[in-house]
């Protein structure tokens, strides 16, 4: 029987309409701690913890905070969830709850259960305590002496406190006690992916056990009204369901397919599974063998928020084909390819050839993105410039990724990916040409920046004016030059 273990108790999924998100499911169970603040994964008021495989790929479990408003309840079939109610009670507060309560971390209290869950996930992050006073020091105001990384709660919004007391609460946390059950839970593997098939009369949620099964379903549901909606973290689809009333006849969950969750580093390429979460990609890139893609590593902290990165995938970011996704400019600059699989076999497409129009690509409806392949060695001079109103967790108005090979003062090779300036992510080919073979000087940069400023066809919208977008294109190259030559 399909169900979710919530705060240690099984909860039946039978009879739950399949468009119901996990937040509404939990609230319907009477667990009203998690709140809806925005229903699009921007505020974190709905944050809960899920037992997930450790993102470094080990057998351990990591308590992972996600936005429960975005994920279908059905997608949590077979999984373990902890909410603010499960962490502690008013009479017996969890250490995170205690610090938040005592330090004025809550005012209206509405965002608080979500903050508590995000904070608790960081509290339990394996390796956090290792930096306790002895690890690398960060002088960015975002890291506590207790190893707490405030970025972990940067996907949570508070309208009341101004955040200082929440920061103080986070930095006051110690390590979990020896008898802490949630800490102990980490040493046992997370629940195996459930092969799920749920129907509610109107719709179905299916999470196939194998890639072959997934591809077969995709082929059988590849056209018109019957077309399947493929989801992994559901961070894009969930928004459409909540805000636009989107409904699908078949939602196909690919988040746990082993073929889509690999990460391998070869001599001349890195292969990244399309259904690895961005957090998993980020953590694997931190490993010695994975540390050869600094541009991709630079992207990750700027990509949405940890609550999103804990669910979102590269496959999803490419699959939606959004022109303002943050991964495509970086992957274009890295000359990445995507592997598309169908029942007829596999093909590899260069990302530069992948996008064909606004939210359109060469991927056929019966094809699934299984891997992203990045060639090695990567360029030495790289930067990712995301222009947005807010430094954390914003959508870029313009994004520029640079990958330059500079030798003996000459630009040997230039690859530049742009987002937000056209109907698709694009390469700045003319700018690349204006740089390649020329001396790496202010003069070259200024000339190329002029060309870059004319790239694409930026528009004016609520995020930025067309003039500002164009100005930021040119400025991004000048900024890169100033930073690497200063």
């Amino acid at each position: 029987m399909a169900g979710i273990v919530v705060n240690g108790a099984p909860r039946d999924l039978a009879g739950v309409p399949l468009h119901t998100n996990a937040l509404d499911f939990l609230r319907g169970c009477g667990l009203t701690g998690a709140k809806e603040g925005c229903a699009e994964g921007e505020c974190g008021a709905c944050s809960v913890m899920v037992a997930r495989p450790a993102p470094d790929g080990s057998d351990a479990t990591e308590w992972t905070a996600i936005n429960s408003c975005l994920v279908p309840a059905a997608a949590l079939d077979g999984q373990e969830v902890v909410t603010s109610e499960g962490l502690g009670s008013p009479e017996d507060l969890h250490p995170v709850q205690h610090e938040m309560a005592m330090r004025g971390g809550s005012q209206c209290g509405y965002c608080t259960p979500g903050f508590v869950c995000s904070m608790a996930a960081e509290y339990y992050r394996s390796g956090r305590a290792a930096t306790n006073g002895t690890g690398p020091r960060h002088d960015d105001g975002m890291h506590g002496d207790n190893g707490f990384d405030l970025h972990a709660i940067s996907g949570n919004l508070c309208r009341c406190t101004g955040y200082r007391p929440i920061k103080d609460a986070a930095f006051a946390l110690t390590s979990p006690a020896s008898d802490d059950a949630l800490a102990a839970r980490r040493s046992v593997p997370a629940p195996a992916p459930a092969a799920t098939q749920l129907h509610d009369g109107e719709a179905a949620y299916v999470r196939p056990a194998t890639l072959a099964e997934a591809l077969q379903l995709l082929r059988d549901h590849s056209d018109g009204d019957r077309a399947a909606t493929v989801v992994a973290g559901s961070t894009d689809w969930g928004v459409d369901v909540n805000l636009k009333g989107a409904r699908a006849g078949l939602v196909l969950g690919v988040d746990r397919l082993p073929e889509l969750r690999g990460f391998s580093v070869g001599d001349d390429e890195i292969r990244i599974g399309a259904a690895l979460t961005l957090t998993e990609v980020e953590r694997r890139l931190e490993s010695p063998s994975g540390s050869r893609l600094p541009l991709l590593a630079a992207l990750m902290p700027q990509f949405a928020s940890p609550l999103i990165r804990n669910a979102a995938t590269l496959g999803g970011n490419l699959g939606t084909g959004s022109p303002i996704g943050d991964a495509p400019p970086v992957l274009l600059a890295l000359e990445a390819s995507v592997v598309l699989a169908s029942t007829e076999g596999e093909r590899t497409v260069a990302l530069a050839d992948y996008f064909t129009g606004y939210r359109e690509s060469v991927r056929r409806p019966d094809e699934l993105i299984t891997e992203v392949v990045v060639p090695l060695p990567a360029a030495e001079v790289t930067a990712f410039h995301k222009i947005a109103k807010r430094a954390f967790d914003d959508i870029s108005s313009v994004a520029v990724a640079f990958a330059l090979d500079v030798a003996d003062g000459v630009v040997r090779k230039a690859r530049i990916g742009l987002g937000g300036v056209a109907a698709t992510p694009i390469r700045a080919l003319e700018v690349e040409a204006a740089l390649e073979g020329r001396p790496w000087t202010q003069e070259t940069v200024d000339a190329a920046a002029e060309v870059l400023g004319r790239a694409g066809t930026p528009i004016s919208d609520q995020r930025a004016s067309a003039d500002y977008r164009a100005a930021m294109l040119g400025q991004s190259l000048r900024k890169l030059f100033a930073e690497v030559t200063s």
């Binding site: 709140k35 603040g37 004025g104 965002c111 309208r159 955040y163 805000l243 410039h385 947005a388 000048r478």
Partner: protein, 778 residues
Amino acid sequence: MTDVDSRGISELTTEPEITTSALSRRPGDAVVGSSVPHESAALHVTGHALYTDDLVARSTHVLHAHPVQAPHAHARVTRLEVGPAYDVAGVVRVLTAADVPGINDSGIKHDEPLFPSEVSYVGHAVCWVLGETLEAARRGAAAVEVDYEELPALLTVEEAIEAGSFQGAQPTMARGDAAAGLARATHVFEGVTAMSGQEHFYLETHCSLAMVDEAGQVFVQSSTQHPTETQEIVAHVLGVPSHAVTVQCLRMGGGFGGKEMQPHGLAAVAALGATLTGRPVRLRLSRQQDMTMTGKRHGYHATWKVGFDDEGRFTALETTLTADGGWSLDLSEPVLSRALCHVDNAYWVPDVLAHGRIARTHKTSQTAFRGFGGPQGMLVIEDVIGRCAPVLGLDPAEVRRRNFYVDGQATPYGQVVRHPERLVAAWEQVTDSADLDARRAAIAEWNTAHPHTKRGLAITPVKFGISFNFTTFNQGGALVHVYKDGSVLINHGGTEMGQGLHTKMLQVAATALGLPLERIRLAPTRTDKVPNTSATAASAGADLNGGAIKDACEQILARLQPVRAAHPDLSWDELVAKAYHQRVQLWAAGFYKTEGLSWDLSTMTGSPFKYFAYGVAAAEVEVDGFTGAYTTRRVDIVHDVGDSLSPLVDLGQIEGGFVQGAGWLTLEDLRWDESDGPGRGRLTTQAASTYKLPSFSEMPREFNVALLERAHEDGVVYGSKAVGEPPLMLAFSVREALRDACAAFGPPGRPVELASPATPEAVYWALDAARSAAEAAR
């Protein structure tokens, strides 16, 4: 639950002050003044604190309401066909104007039809669909057919001014002879200052849950800052007397003024649905609905002409403030009054002529928002100083300081400014503790060495009047019960939205009764406990309701006094039990009204405020010359809360208000589609993904907040001052620091114009203009 503060604000040591009133005298063993966590903190952090929508899972047979929202900014409804909605499975009822038994209006000015025949903004609800599930109601709403005849729409203040589209009163505040003042000035400047509004973005969207109780009584649970007015509007929509409607507010997930007027119509829809179906009706707005349907902070447009003498002192100010009121009046008139009453901020301006008017535009009806016009009025004069000081050849901080009110001077509306020396004390404390002189020098040096990055520093004052401008509203009520076992239950007219009012009220009751906090419980705000309440607004919640609670407690103590005199050794519990047996009334209704207020709306003169709250902030920012992106490096605040009732609560209000103000001034960017295309009038920032609130990335790296010492306020409950709104305006320091940093890209003496909000894009254009001027001068 003590020892919570990391920055030394703990027990306040109150120096002996001259207290002439019993109200402000604080006993030695007071519970007020101690740092305690929010009274609901343990419930908040465990998810056990209940908000209105959390009650739905605990109720049965609830119907869900969904609006049919208009796609046009201005249009006549020519056909409304609700029949198709009933074909949708699960749809129970569609509510239209024909269903209203009372008055089809949700405002207090009778200009807000609840079910309109003419829509006045994109998103205006034409009718509401009730369904067994929210999904059914949503699908039903989509099935309703509406035909519209489009009408011309005005979107911007400029368009409204051009068209002469105004609403409500057009007051003028004047003192002296502004023309003569300008004539005797040695420097005269004129300009335009425009500022955007602000979305409240309380994390909890509007919610009402209505049901029909016993004998036709309607019970509405609502996220409302003004339960009495919600009750009145529900009653007049239903066509019943107020005594047939009870409104309760458990708590709100943030209010900020956005739930002062806006909940009423929504509660009325839920109540109407409940009376027609006999079932509980839940109306909870989605974020998108909330943002497209409910009012926001008013954007303002100001023209000004200002005179300075040789020393940078104001001689005169002429200004016209035009509020962007949106489609209906709502609270726009009192907001405008407060804007006019704060256009002086902390500065003596001898001759003043200030006109105010309210544009009628086809947008949401703009409403109360923390500061209530004060921020908009004050921004004008801070913008004036920021722009004019460089041309005067003076440091803006010097211009500010030179123009402070001094003892004996009065505001343009005639209220004597009491305690202006407290502002000076705060200014000097910030200047010293933040080491401003040395940092200014260090910043100048740093800027010279960094061509692509500049830092800026600014210090700004706040003077904010406390009390409702409209004298009548300055009253509060409370109900205090002492039960036979000695436990105490208090109710008061104020609502809790996170500001810590209930925490303070518990401390007031504990202090007044001489009991520990644990003996006192506070029950949710209800109109059948305390009637005829004022909105929890104007920062006045603690002043008004604290006075009322203290009054009630003292009535009870007075009745207990004979029993105590006869039995001096009894414990509280024994005393109470004894009193009960002697038939002593152990409960009391308390009342408070603020004394000494006056306000003449026709002349815009009087002394409408009980006192002024003061504060000073200094902010340092760093701006990236490539992008206009910036960080706030350090903020130092000294703020006046009188003798704090609850230091941890007050600290939270100061910090949170400051960050919210910084959000308004630098980040939060409301945009409407002002094109002539089919989307004209649509709010394009109608979600958290497009409307960005401050997050951790906007938190100042270093944030020092101190409460002004020796700040006892005579004649206010236990010597305290209001704190809800004033700190928001401390954020002017951030805007002025950004201006200072932008100026550093340009030549000296050049004024910098900075849009509001000063988003990275706005900052980029400001610094780019400065940089271009520097290059041109080379």
